[in-house]
Protein backbone atom coordinates (compact mmCIF):
# COMPACT_ATOMS: atom_id res chain seq x y z
CA UNK A 1 0.00 0.00 0.00
CA UNK A 2 2.73 2.42 1.10
CA UNK A 3 6.35 2.17 0.09
CA UNK A 4 9.06 4.27 1.69
CA UNK A 5 12.38 4.37 -0.09
CA UNK A 6 15.53 5.82 1.42
CA UNK A 7 13.88 8.55 3.50
CA UNK A 8 16.26 10.99 5.20
CA UNK A 9 15.82 14.01 7.38
CA UNK A 10 18.50 15.90 9.28
CA UNK A 11 18.28 18.78 11.69
CA UNK A 12 21.68 20.48 11.65
CA UNK A 13 24.07 17.66 12.45
CA UNK A 14 21.43 15.29 13.82
CA UNK A 15 20.10 12.60 11.53
CA UNK A 16 16.52 12.28 12.75
CA UNK A 17 15.60 9.85 9.97
CA UNK A 18 18.52 8.09 8.39
CA UNK A 19 17.86 6.22 5.16
CA UNK A 20 14.66 4.44 6.10
CA UNK A 21 13.02 2.10 3.62
CA UNK A 22 9.87 0.29 4.52
CA UNK A 23 7.01 -1.45 2.83
CA UNK A 24 3.59 -1.30 4.42
CA UNK A 25 1.12 -3.95 3.33
CA UNK A 26 -2.58 -3.11 2.97
CA UNK A 27 -4.82 -4.11 5.87
CA UNK A 28 -1.85 -4.69 8.13
CA UNK A 29 -0.74 -3.32 11.48
CA UNK A 30 2.81 -1.97 11.41
CA UNK A 31 4.37 -1.08 14.73
CA UNK A 32 7.28 1.34 14.93
CA UNK A 33 8.97 0.56 18.23
CA UNK A 34 11.63 2.72 19.80
CA UNK A 35 12.32 5.32 22.46
CA UNK A 36 11.38 8.99 22.49
CA UNK A 37 13.65 10.72 20.03
CA UNK A 38 14.40 7.58 17.98
CA UNK A 39 12.92 9.21 14.88
CA UNK A 40 9.46 7.61 14.87
CA UNK A 41 7.48 10.86 14.92
CA UNK A 42 9.65 12.49 12.27
CA UNK A 43 9.18 9.47 10.02
CA UNK A 44 5.40 9.59 10.41
CA UNK A 45 5.36 13.33 9.74
CA UNK A 46 7.42 12.85 6.58
CA UNK A 47 4.84 10.36 5.29
CA UNK A 48 2.13 12.97 5.84
CA UNK A 49 4.15 15.82 4.34
CA UNK A 50 4.20 17.66 7.68
CA UNK A 51 7.98 17.52 7.74
CA UNK A 52 9.89 18.05 4.52
CA UNK A 53 12.19 15.14 3.77
CA UNK A 54 15.75 15.78 2.62
CA UNK A 55 15.86 12.71 0.43
CA UNK A 56 13.92 9.60 -0.51
CA UNK A 57 10.70 8.63 -2.25
CA UNK A 58 7.22 7.65 -1.15
CA UNK A 59 4.96 5.41 -3.23
CA UNK A 60 1.24 4.93 -2.77
CA UNK A 61 -0.14 1.83 -4.47
CA UNK A 62 3.08 1.57 -6.48
CA UNK A 63 2.84 5.14 -7.80
CA UNK A 64 5.31 7.79 -6.62
CA UNK A 65 3.45 10.61 -4.91
CA UNK A 66 6.14 13.16 -5.74
CA UNK A 67 5.35 16.27 -3.75
CA UNK A 68 1.58 15.75 -3.78
CA UNK A 69 0.98 14.60 -0.19
CA UNK A 70 -2.77 15.15 -0.52
CA UNK A 71 -2.84 11.74 -2.19
CA UNK A 72 -1.95 10.32 1.22
CA UNK A 73 -3.56 12.81 3.58
CA UNK A 74 -6.94 12.55 1.86
CA UNK A 75 -7.20 8.89 2.81
CA UNK A 76 -5.38 9.00 6.14
CA UNK A 77 -6.42 9.66 9.71
CA UNK A 78 -3.54 10.95 11.83
CA UNK A 79 -3.40 11.17 15.59
CA UNK A 80 -0.31 13.09 16.72
CA UNK A 81 1.34 12.44 20.06
CA UNK A 82 -0.09 15.65 21.42
CA UNK A 83 -3.53 15.53 19.91
CA UNK A 84 -6.03 18.30 20.36
CA UNK A 85 -9.46 17.98 21.85
CA UNK A 86 -11.64 20.81 23.06
CA UNK A 87 -11.62 20.29 26.80
CA UNK A 88 -14.60 22.60 27.37
CA UNK A 89 -16.75 20.70 24.90
CA UNK A 90 -18.45 17.40 25.64
CA UNK A 91 -17.46 14.15 23.96
CA UNK A 92 -20.38 14.52 21.57
CA UNK A 93 -19.66 18.18 20.84
CA UNK A 94 -16.07 17.30 20.01
CA UNK A 95 -17.35 14.69 17.57
CA UNK A 96 -19.69 17.29 16.00
CA UNK A 97 -16.89 19.80 15.71
CA UNK A 98 -14.53 17.36 14.00
CA UNK A 99 -17.37 16.20 11.74
CA UNK A 100 -17.68 19.79 10.52
CA UNK A 101 -13.94 20.09 9.97
CA UNK A 102 -13.81 16.82 8.10
CA UNK A 103 -16.97 17.69 6.16
CA UNK A 104 -18.86 14.55 7.07
CA UNK A 105 -22.19 14.73 5.18
CA UNK A 106 -25.04 15.72 7.51
CA UNK A 107 -27.22 12.71 6.77
CA UNK A 108 -24.46 10.27 7.71
CA UNK A 109 -23.27 12.14 10.74
CA UNK A 110 -25.53 10.90 13.55
CA UNK A 111 -25.21 7.28 12.57
CA UNK A 112 -21.42 7.48 12.16
CA UNK A 113 -20.95 9.31 15.45
CA UNK A 114 -22.99 6.72 17.27
CA UNK A 115 -21.11 3.84 15.68
CA UNK A 116 -17.64 5.23 16.38
CA UNK A 117 -18.36 6.11 19.99
CA UNK A 118 -19.76 2.66 20.45
CA UNK A 119 -16.71 1.05 18.92
CA UNK A 120 -14.32 2.95 21.19
CA UNK A 121 -16.49 2.40 24.24
CA UNK A 122 -17.12 6.11 24.64
CA UNK A 123 -20.88 6.10 24.10
CA UNK A 124 -21.76 6.07 27.83
CA UNK A 125 -19.66 9.23 28.27
CA UNK A 126 -21.22 11.15 25.38
CA UNK A 127 -22.25 14.06 27.59
CA UNK A 128 -19.06 14.27 29.63
CA UNK A 129 -16.76 17.23 29.17
CA UNK A 130 -13.56 16.13 27.38
CA UNK A 131 -11.50 17.88 30.07
CA UNK A 132 -13.01 15.59 32.72
CA UNK A 133 -12.02 12.37 30.92
CA UNK A 134 -9.17 10.18 32.11
CA UNK A 135 -6.01 9.91 30.01
CA UNK A 136 -7.06 6.62 28.43
CA UNK A 137 -10.53 7.96 27.58
CA UNK A 138 -9.15 11.11 25.96
CA UNK A 139 -7.05 8.86 23.80
CA UNK A 140 -10.12 6.91 22.73
CA UNK A 141 -12.05 10.08 21.96
CA UNK A 142 -9.15 11.41 19.87
CA UNK A 143 -9.13 8.13 17.96
CA UNK A 144 -12.91 8.41 17.40
CA UNK A 145 -12.51 11.91 15.93
CA UNK A 146 -9.93 10.85 13.38
CA UNK A 147 -12.13 7.94 12.27
CA UNK A 148 -14.89 10.36 11.24
CA UNK A 149 -13.37 10.79 7.80
CA UNK A 150 -13.49 6.99 7.28
CA UNK A 151 -9.77 6.83 6.45
CA UNK A 152 -8.15 3.83 4.74
CA UNK A 153 -4.84 4.48 6.48
CA UNK A 154 -4.58 5.26 10.19
CA UNK A 155 -1.39 6.73 11.63
CA UNK A 156 -1.14 6.87 15.41
CA UNK A 157 1.91 8.48 16.98
CA UNK A 158 2.56 7.09 20.45
CA UNK A 159 -1.12 6.85 21.34
CA UNK A 160 -0.41 4.97 24.56
CA UNK A 161 2.65 6.68 26.03
CA UNK A 162 1.99 7.44 29.68
CA UNK A 163 -1.32 5.54 29.52
CA UNK A 164 -1.86 2.91 32.21
CA UNK A 165 -1.48 -0.80 31.37
CA UNK A 166 -5.18 -1.66 31.32
CA UNK A 167 -6.17 1.26 29.11
CA UNK A 168 -3.32 0.35 26.78
CA UNK A 169 -4.65 -3.15 26.33
CA UNK A 170 -8.12 -1.77 25.60
CA UNK A 171 -6.76 0.70 23.09
CA UNK A 172 -4.88 -1.98 21.20
CA UNK A 173 -7.98 -4.17 21.09
CA UNK A 174 -9.73 -1.35 19.25
CA UNK A 175 -6.79 -1.01 16.86
CA UNK A 176 -6.94 -4.72 16.10
CA UNK A 177 -10.66 -4.44 15.34
CA UNK A 178 -9.97 -1.60 12.92
CA UNK A 179 -7.44 -3.79 11.15
CA UNK A 180 -10.00 -6.58 10.85
CA UNK A 181 -12.26 -4.04 9.14
CA UNK A 182 -9.61 -3.55 6.49
CA UNK A 183 -7.75 -0.47 7.67
CA UNK A 184 -4.02 -0.12 7.17
CA UNK A 185 -2.52 1.00 10.45
CA UNK A 186 0.85 2.39 11.45
CA UNK A 187 1.38 2.94 15.15
CA UNK A 188 4.45 4.01 17.07
CA UNK A 189 5.12 3.02 20.66
CA UNK A 190 7.89 2.77 23.24
CA UNK A 191 6.14 -0.26 24.84
CA UNK A 192 7.34 -3.53 23.39
CA UNK A 193 4.66 -5.67 25.03
CA UNK A 194 2.00 -4.04 22.90
CA UNK A 195 4.23 -4.12 19.81
CA UNK A 196 3.61 -7.89 19.90
CA UNK A 197 0.21 -7.16 18.36
CA UNK A 198 1.75 -5.94 15.11
CA UNK A 199 1.98 -7.88 11.85
CA UNK A 200 5.22 -6.13 11.09
CA UNK A 201 7.52 -4.85 13.80
CA UNK A 202 10.08 -2.16 13.03
CA UNK A 203 12.69 -1.36 15.68
CA UNK A 204 14.00 2.17 15.30
CA UNK A 205 16.95 3.76 17.02
CA UNK A 206 18.92 6.92 16.18
CA UNK A 207 16.86 7.39 13.03
CA UNK A 208 17.71 3.95 11.67
CA UNK A 209 15.84 0.67 11.42
CA UNK A 210 17.86 -1.70 13.59
CA UNK A 211 15.70 -4.73 12.82
CA UNK A 212 12.33 -5.48 11.30
CA UNK A 213 10.15 -8.43 10.51
CA UNK A 214 7.00 -10.27 11.44
CA UNK A 215 6.75 -11.27 15.06
CA UNK A 216 6.99 -14.89 14.02
CA UNK A 217 10.13 -14.44 11.92
CA UNK A 218 11.79 -12.30 14.60
CA UNK A 219 11.18 -15.01 17.17
CA UNK A 220 12.09 -17.93 14.96
CA UNK A 221 15.30 -16.31 13.75
CA UNK A 222 16.43 -15.03 17.12
CA UNK A 223 20.14 -15.84 16.98
CA UNK A 224 20.77 -16.48 20.67
CA UNK A 225 19.77 -18.91 23.36
CA UNK A 226 17.87 -17.25 26.14
CA UNK A 227 17.79 -18.26 29.80
CA UNK A 228 15.61 -16.95 32.57
CA UNK A 229 17.29 -17.04 35.95
CA UNK A 230 15.73 -16.61 39.36
CA UNK A 231 18.55 -15.20 41.49
CA UNK A 232 19.19 -15.73 45.18
CA UNK A 233 18.26 -12.61 47.13
CA UNK A 234 18.09 -9.06 45.83
CA UNK A 235 17.99 -8.81 42.03
CA UNK A 236 20.25 -5.74 41.82
CA UNK A 237 22.87 -7.27 44.07
CA UNK A 238 22.74 -10.45 42.02
CA UNK A 239 23.18 -8.72 38.67
CA UNK A 240 26.02 -6.57 40.00
CA UNK A 241 27.96 -9.63 41.05
CA UNK A 242 27.20 -11.47 37.80
CA UNK A 243 28.37 -8.48 35.77
CA UNK A 244 31.75 -8.64 37.48
CA UNK A 245 32.41 -11.61 35.19
CA UNK A 246 33.77 -10.06 31.97
CA UNK A 247 32.62 -12.86 29.73
CA UNK A 248 29.03 -12.53 30.88
CA UNK A 249 28.66 -8.85 31.70
CA UNK A 250 27.15 -7.69 28.38
CA UNK A 251 24.82 -10.64 28.10
CA UNK A 252 22.73 -10.31 31.23
CA UNK A 253 19.93 -7.93 32.17
CA UNK A 254 17.07 -7.70 34.62
CA UNK A 255 13.41 -8.28 33.90
CA UNK A 256 11.00 -8.16 36.82
CA UNK A 257 12.18 -10.65 39.43
CA UNK A 258 14.33 -12.51 36.87
CA UNK A 259 17.72 -12.07 35.30
CA UNK A 260 17.96 -12.93 31.64
CA UNK A 261 21.06 -14.32 30.00
CA UNK A 262 21.58 -14.25 26.24
CA UNK A 263 24.06 -16.79 24.98
CA UNK A 264 25.09 -15.75 21.47
CA UNK A 265 28.01 -18.04 20.66
CA UNK A 266 28.47 -21.70 21.30
CA UNK A 267 30.30 -21.18 24.57
CA UNK A 268 27.82 -20.81 27.38
CA UNK A 269 28.55 -19.55 30.84
CA UNK A 270 25.20 -20.29 32.39
CA UNK A 271 26.89 -22.58 34.93
CA UNK A 272 28.83 -19.63 36.28
CA UNK A 273 25.67 -17.78 37.26
CA UNK A 274 24.43 -18.60 40.74
CA UNK A 275 20.70 -19.26 40.59
CA UNK A 276 17.76 -20.64 42.46
CA UNK A 277 16.19 -21.74 39.20
CA UNK A 278 17.19 -21.63 35.51
CA UNK A 279 14.86 -22.06 32.57
CA UNK A 280 15.42 -21.83 28.84
CA UNK A 281 12.77 -19.50 27.45
CA UNK A 282 11.69 -18.15 24.08
CA UNK A 283 12.32 -14.45 23.49
CA UNK A 284 9.78 -11.68 23.89
CA UNK A 285 10.00 -8.62 21.65
CA UNK A 286 11.79 -6.83 24.46
CA UNK A 287 14.52 -9.49 24.47
CA UNK A 288 14.76 -9.23 20.69
CA UNK A 289 15.03 -5.44 20.86
CA UNK A 290 17.74 -5.66 23.50
CA UNK A 291 19.68 -8.16 21.41
CA UNK A 292 19.78 -6.03 18.26
CA UNK A 293 20.16 -2.78 20.16
CA UNK A 294 23.22 -4.20 21.88
CA UNK A 295 24.68 -5.34 18.57
CA UNK A 296 24.29 -1.83 17.16
CA UNK A 297 26.21 -0.43 20.12
CA UNK A 298 28.94 -3.02 19.67
CA UNK A 299 29.59 -1.99 16.05
Amino acid sequence: MLELDGLCKSYDSIKAVDNISLSIAPESLTVLAGADGAGKSTLLKIILGLVKKDRGKIYLDQKPIGSDFSKITSITGYMPERFSLYTDLSVEENMNFFSDIQEVPRRRREDLKQRLLEKTGMLPFKKRRAGALSGGMKQKLALSTILLSSPDIIILDEPTTGVDPLSRIEFFNIIEELKEEGKTIIVSTPYLDEAEKGDDIVFIKNGKIIKQGSIQSLKENFPARLFRILPEGNIFKAIESIRADDEITDNVYIRGRYIKYMQSGTAGFIDRIPAKEVKKVSPTLEDIYLYYERNINAV
Binding site: Y11, D12, I14, G34, A35, D36, G37, A38, S134, G135, G136, E158, T161, G162, V163, D164, P165, L166, S167, R168, P190, Y191, L192, K205, N206, I235, F236, I239, Y253, I254, R255, G256, R257, E286, Y289, L290, E293, R294
Partner: protein, 245 residues
Amino acid sequence: MQFEDIIRVNELTKKFGAFYAVNRISFNIRRGEILGFLGPNGAGKTTTIKMITGLLRITSGNVFVKGLNVKKQIKQIKAFTGYMSQKFSLYPLLTSLENIEFFGGISGLPRKEIKKFQQQITDMIPVKILKQKIMDIPPGIKQQVALFTCLMPDPDIIFLDEPTSGVDPKNRRDFWMQIYKLKKAGKTILVTTHNLDEAEYADRIIIIHNGKIIRQGEPSTLLKNENMDSMEDLFKKAVTDHETN
Protein backbone atom coordinates in the same frame (compact mmCIF):
# COMPACT_ATOMS: atom_id res chain seq x y z
CA MET B 1 14.32 -5.62 62.11
CA GLN B 2 12.82 -2.27 62.99
CA PHE B 3 12.11 0.19 60.22
CA GLU B 4 12.05 3.86 60.73
CA ASP B 5 9.22 5.64 58.95
CA ILE B 6 10.77 8.63 57.25
CA ILE B 7 7.44 9.79 55.82
CA ARG B 8 4.05 9.37 57.47
CA VAL B 9 0.94 10.07 55.45
CA ASN B 10 -2.24 10.25 57.46
CA GLU B 11 -5.79 10.47 56.02
CA LEU B 12 -4.45 12.58 53.18
CA THR B 13 -7.17 14.06 50.99
CA LYS B 14 -7.32 16.32 47.95
CA LYS B 15 -10.56 17.64 46.55
CA PHE B 16 -10.88 19.44 43.23
CA GLY B 17 -14.39 20.91 43.41
CA ALA B 18 -16.62 17.97 44.31
CA PHE B 19 -14.08 15.45 43.00
CA TYR B 20 -11.88 13.51 45.41
CA ALA B 21 -8.55 13.05 43.61
CA VAL B 22 -7.05 11.55 46.77
CA ASN B 23 -9.44 10.21 49.35
CA ARG B 24 -8.20 9.75 52.93
CA ILE B 25 -5.14 7.65 52.22
CA SER B 26 -2.67 6.66 54.91
CA PHE B 27 0.70 5.00 54.45
CA ASN B 28 4.28 5.21 55.60
CA ILE B 29 7.55 5.25 53.72
CA ARG B 30 10.49 3.57 55.43
CA ARG B 31 13.95 5.04 55.48
CA GLY B 32 16.12 3.55 52.74
CA GLU B 33 13.42 1.73 50.82
CA ILE B 34 12.29 1.91 47.21
CA LEU B 35 8.54 2.35 47.26
CA GLY B 36 6.74 1.70 43.96
CA PHE B 37 3.61 3.75 43.47
CA LEU B 38 1.25 2.25 40.89
CA GLY B 39 -2.21 2.95 39.57
CA PRO B 40 -4.26 3.78 36.47
CA ASN B 41 -4.15 7.26 34.95
CA GLY B 42 -5.96 9.70 37.16
CA ALA B 43 -5.71 7.40 40.20
CA GLY B 44 -4.15 10.17 42.29
CA LYS B 45 -0.46 9.25 42.19
CA THR B 46 0.91 12.59 41.04
CA THR B 47 -1.54 14.49 43.25
CA THR B 48 -0.29 12.54 46.27
CA ILE B 49 3.36 13.21 45.44
CA LYS B 50 2.65 16.88 44.89
CA MET B 51 0.99 17.14 48.31
CA ILE B 52 3.88 15.35 50.03
CA THR B 53 6.40 17.66 48.36
CA GLY B 54 4.39 20.76 49.17
CA LEU B 55 3.62 21.61 45.54
CA LEU B 56 -0.13 21.23 46.06
CA ARG B 57 -2.27 22.35 48.98
CA ILE B 58 -3.59 19.58 51.19
CA THR B 59 -7.40 19.59 51.53
CA SER B 60 -7.32 17.55 54.73
CA GLY B 61 -5.12 15.08 56.53
CA ASN B 62 -1.45 15.34 57.37
CA VAL B 63 1.97 14.51 56.03
CA PHE B 64 5.07 14.35 58.22
CA VAL B 65 8.49 14.11 56.63
CA LYS B 66 11.22 13.27 59.15
CA GLY B 67 8.80 14.47 61.78
CA LEU B 68 8.28 17.84 60.08
CA ASN B 69 4.78 18.93 59.11
CA VAL B 70 4.43 19.58 55.37
CA LYS B 71 1.75 22.18 56.00
CA LYS B 72 4.01 24.25 58.24
CA GLN B 73 7.63 23.34 57.66
CA ILE B 74 7.81 22.80 53.91
CA LYS B 75 10.89 25.00 53.51
CA GLN B 76 12.97 22.79 55.78
CA ILE B 77 11.57 19.67 54.09
CA LYS B 78 12.48 20.91 50.61
CA ALA B 79 16.12 21.12 51.66
CA PHE B 80 16.39 17.34 51.81
CA THR B 81 13.91 16.17 49.15
CA GLY B 82 14.37 15.88 45.39
CA TYR B 83 11.55 15.70 42.85
CA MET B 84 11.74 14.62 39.24
CA SER B 85 8.45 15.40 37.53
CA GLN B 86 6.75 13.57 34.68
CA LYS B 87 8.35 14.53 31.36
CA PHE B 88 11.20 15.95 33.46
CA SER B 89 11.08 19.70 33.48
CA LEU B 90 14.40 20.69 31.99
CA TYR B 91 14.53 23.85 29.90
CA PRO B 92 14.72 22.66 26.29
CA LEU B 93 16.47 25.79 25.00
CA LEU B 94 19.20 25.68 27.64
CA THR B 95 22.13 23.28 27.60
CA SER B 96 22.55 20.61 30.27
CA LEU B 97 25.20 22.69 32.03
CA GLU B 98 22.95 25.76 31.97
CA ASN B 99 20.06 23.73 33.36
CA ILE B 100 22.28 22.60 36.20
CA GLU B 101 23.25 26.18 36.90
CA PHE B 102 19.60 27.23 36.85
CA PHE B 103 18.28 24.47 39.11
CA GLY B 104 21.29 24.79 41.41
CA GLY B 105 20.48 28.48 41.74
CA ILE B 106 16.83 27.71 42.54
CA SER B 107 17.87 25.27 45.25
CA GLY B 108 19.93 28.08 46.75
CA LEU B 109 23.30 26.43 46.19
CA PRO B 110 26.36 28.70 46.32
CA ARG B 111 28.14 29.29 42.99
CA LYS B 112 31.10 27.19 44.07
CA GLU B 113 28.86 24.21 44.79
CA ILE B 114 27.14 24.55 41.42
CA LYS B 115 30.52 24.56 39.68
CA LYS B 116 31.38 21.36 41.53
CA PHE B 117 28.19 19.70 40.31
CA GLN B 118 28.88 20.85 36.75
CA GLN B 119 32.30 19.26 37.03
CA GLN B 120 30.82 16.09 38.47
CA ILE B 121 28.42 15.50 35.58
CA THR B 122 31.29 15.64 33.07
CA ASP B 123 32.45 12.35 34.58
CA MET B 124 29.18 10.76 33.46
CA ILE B 125 28.38 12.48 30.17
CA PRO B 126 30.75 13.87 27.52
CA VAL B 127 31.20 17.68 27.67
CA LYS B 128 30.28 17.99 24.00
CA ILE B 129 26.79 16.68 24.73
CA LEU B 130 26.47 18.73 27.91
CA LYS B 131 26.96 21.88 25.82
CA GLN B 132 24.09 21.01 23.48
CA LYS B 133 20.58 22.30 24.01
CA ILE B 134 18.37 19.86 25.92
CA MET B 135 15.99 19.66 22.94
CA ASP B 136 18.80 18.23 20.81
CA ILE B 137 20.08 15.46 23.07
CA PRO B 138 18.87 11.85 23.19
CA PRO B 139 16.13 11.03 25.72
CA GLY B 140 18.28 8.60 27.70
CA ILE B 141 20.78 11.35 28.44
CA LYS B 142 18.05 13.90 29.06
CA GLN B 143 16.74 11.59 31.73
CA GLN B 144 20.18 11.27 33.34
CA VAL B 145 20.52 15.05 33.43
CA ALA B 146 17.05 15.39 34.93
CA LEU B 147 17.90 12.90 37.66
CA PHE B 148 21.19 14.69 38.27
CA THR B 149 19.49 18.07 38.74
CA CYS B 150 17.01 16.56 41.16
CA LEU B 151 19.93 15.15 43.20
CA MET B 152 21.86 18.40 43.36
CA PRO B 153 21.23 19.49 46.89
CA ASP B 154 21.99 15.84 47.81
CA PRO B 155 18.51 14.97 49.05
CA ASP B 156 17.76 12.08 51.44
CA ILE B 157 14.36 11.48 49.90
CA ILE B 158 13.75 11.31 46.17
CA PHE B 159 10.44 11.39 44.31
CA LEU B 160 10.49 10.12 40.74
CA ASP B 161 7.25 10.55 38.81
CA GLU B 162 7.15 8.19 35.80
CA PRO B 163 10.87 8.50 35.16
CA THR B 164 10.89 5.69 32.57
CA SER B 165 7.86 6.71 30.51
CA GLY B 166 8.78 6.70 26.81
CA VAL B 167 12.26 5.34 27.52
CA ASP B 168 13.58 2.29 25.66
CA PRO B 169 14.21 -1.07 27.39
CA LYS B 170 17.97 -0.61 27.60
CA ASN B 171 17.82 2.85 29.16
CA ARG B 172 15.02 1.81 31.49
CA ARG B 173 17.31 -0.84 32.94
CA ASP B 174 20.27 1.50 33.20
CA PHE B 175 18.03 3.94 35.01
CA TRP B 176 16.94 1.32 37.52
CA MET B 177 20.57 0.43 38.23
CA GLN B 178 21.01 4.10 39.13
CA ILE B 179 17.99 4.00 41.40
CA TYR B 180 19.52 1.00 43.12
CA LYS B 181 22.81 2.88 43.58
CA LEU B 182 20.88 5.68 45.27
CA LYS B 183 19.24 3.15 47.56
CA LYS B 184 22.66 1.72 48.42
CA ALA B 185 23.78 5.24 49.27
CA GLY B 186 21.00 5.30 51.84
CA LYS B 187 18.42 7.34 49.97
CA THR B 188 14.69 6.77 50.29
CA ILE B 189 12.94 6.60 46.94
CA LEU B 190 9.33 6.84 45.86
CA VAL B 191 8.85 6.01 42.19
CA THR B 192 5.75 5.79 39.99
CA THR B 193 5.64 3.73 36.81
CA HIS B 194 3.34 2.23 34.20
CA ASN B 195 5.93 -0.42 33.36
CA LEU B 196 4.73 -3.17 35.66
CA ASP B 197 7.88 -5.29 35.34
CA GLU B 198 9.62 -2.45 37.16
CA ALA B 199 7.23 -2.75 40.09
CA GLU B 200 9.14 -5.88 41.10
CA TYR B 201 12.30 -3.84 41.61
CA ALA B 202 10.65 -1.99 44.48
CA ASP B 203 10.94 -3.13 48.10
CA ARG B 204 7.25 -2.42 48.57
CA ILE B 205 4.47 -1.29 46.28
CA ILE B 206 1.27 0.63 46.77
CA ILE B 207 -1.46 0.43 44.14
CA ILE B 208 -3.96 3.27 44.20
CA HIS B 209 -7.16 3.71 42.26
CA ASN B 210 -9.83 6.41 42.42
CA GLY B 211 -7.85 8.11 45.18
CA LYS B 212 -7.82 5.02 47.45
CA ILE B 213 -5.13 2.48 48.29
CA ILE B 214 -6.26 -0.89 46.90
CA ARG B 215 -3.14 -3.00 47.56
CA GLN B 216 0.11 -2.59 49.42
CA GLY B 217 3.01 -4.78 50.41
CA GLU B 218 6.13 -6.47 49.14
CA PRO B 219 5.75 -7.45 45.47
CA SER B 220 6.63 -11.11 46.04
CA THR B 221 4.29 -11.42 49.02
CA LEU B 222 1.42 -9.79 47.16
CA LEU B 223 1.90 -12.12 44.21
CA LYS B 224 2.08 -15.15 46.48
CA ASN B 225 -0.98 -14.16 48.52
CA GLU B 226 -3.12 -13.81 45.42
CA ASN B 227 -1.54 -16.79 43.74
CA MET B 228 -0.41 -14.81 40.74
CA ASP B 229 2.64 -15.03 38.57
CA SER B 230 2.80 -11.60 37.00
CA MET B 231 2.44 -8.02 38.16
CA GLU B 232 0.22 -7.33 35.15
CA ASP B 233 -2.29 -9.89 36.39
CA LEU B 234 -2.14 -8.60 39.95
CA PHE B 235 -2.65 -5.03 38.77
CA LYS B 236 -5.59 -6.03 36.60
CA LYS B 237 -7.22 -7.97 39.42
CA ALA B 238 -6.72 -5.20 41.97
CA VAL B 239 -8.29 -2.62 39.69
CA THR B 240 -11.26 -4.77 38.61
CA ASP B 241 -11.89 -5.97 42.20
CA HIS B 242 -12.06 -2.35 43.28
CA GLU B 243 -14.36 -1.37 40.43
CA THR B 244 -16.82 -4.19 41.00
CA ASN B 245 -17.05 -3.56 44.74
